[in-house]
Symmetry: C2
Amino acid sequence: MKQTDTDDCGAWPLLVRLFFTQRANLPQLAAELQLSPAQCHVLHLIEPGRPMPMGQLAGTLACDASNVTGLVDRLESRGLVRRRPSAADRRVKVLELTPTGSRLRALLLDRMTAPPATLRRLSVREQRTLVRILSRLLE
Amino acid sequence: MKQTDTDDCGAWPLLVRLFFTQRANLPQLAAELQLSPAQCHVLHLIEPGRPMPMGQLAGTLACDASNVTGLVDRLESRGLVRRRPSAADRRVKVLELTPTGSRLRALLLDRMTAPPATLRRLSVREQRTLVRILSRLLE
DNA sequence: CTTAATACTTGATGATGTCAACTATAGAGT
DNA sequence: ACTCTATAGTTGACATCATCAAGTATTAAG
């Protein structure tokens, strides 16, 4: 079970390359929606109808809480996100998408998940295999 | 059967999720090497013994040329990268890793390609399959 | 009730990124 | 040659991203 860390046939290095490739074209995709990469990340994380405390967002983004304040400030000023006080704990503020934010998020996911041309090189069967394997990676 | 996977729309959203997951933990990994995410990206792109013109780097990063100037300034001031004039065209400056830069790059790739725990859920055979499929995506 | 811990904000600072203007070189066409 | 245009890189102005330290408000613990 433990054996293949150094002997995994290079699967992870390939994913790293894929990661950097995607990282490079996120800015342009974001710019088309008048967003920054970080804002895309936030929009991606807040699902419609699933409000999220700011602290949890900071945790998921793995960044400082004060950074989230600024990010949300800008998103809120554009009417994409709302801060709501939490009923349970008056310290926490919960974030939820506005209708506009929901629509923009849908548009973003649509563009991001528009498969690149290279994906068409795979057969349907290979794609299913890929889905099965990736699902297990994402638990 | 929440969704149809008769087409390619299943695999890419998963890769997008994987992408954002990795995006979130790059800052910490970078910080351990006293680097920023962007600097990691640059270091990842300049291979030892394969000098790269600044313009090409800007193209691959899909960012403005002036941004590369600053990135390289900081990397050069830390002795990780060198600017060299190009013999063929005196306008271009070619970037190459210093020995220190090469070592740090190796360390970075080592850490980045240290497979996450989730990868161990896959059998060797599944990992090979993943490698085969990803190679075709990246070729 | 006092004290400590948590959630978020503020202000300072550096890094990242874009744009416009600039220098220097290259590559035309005339 | 000589102008005209395009390209490679830098600089300066400015917004965003990100961290840290300090501060406020609230919660929780002793």
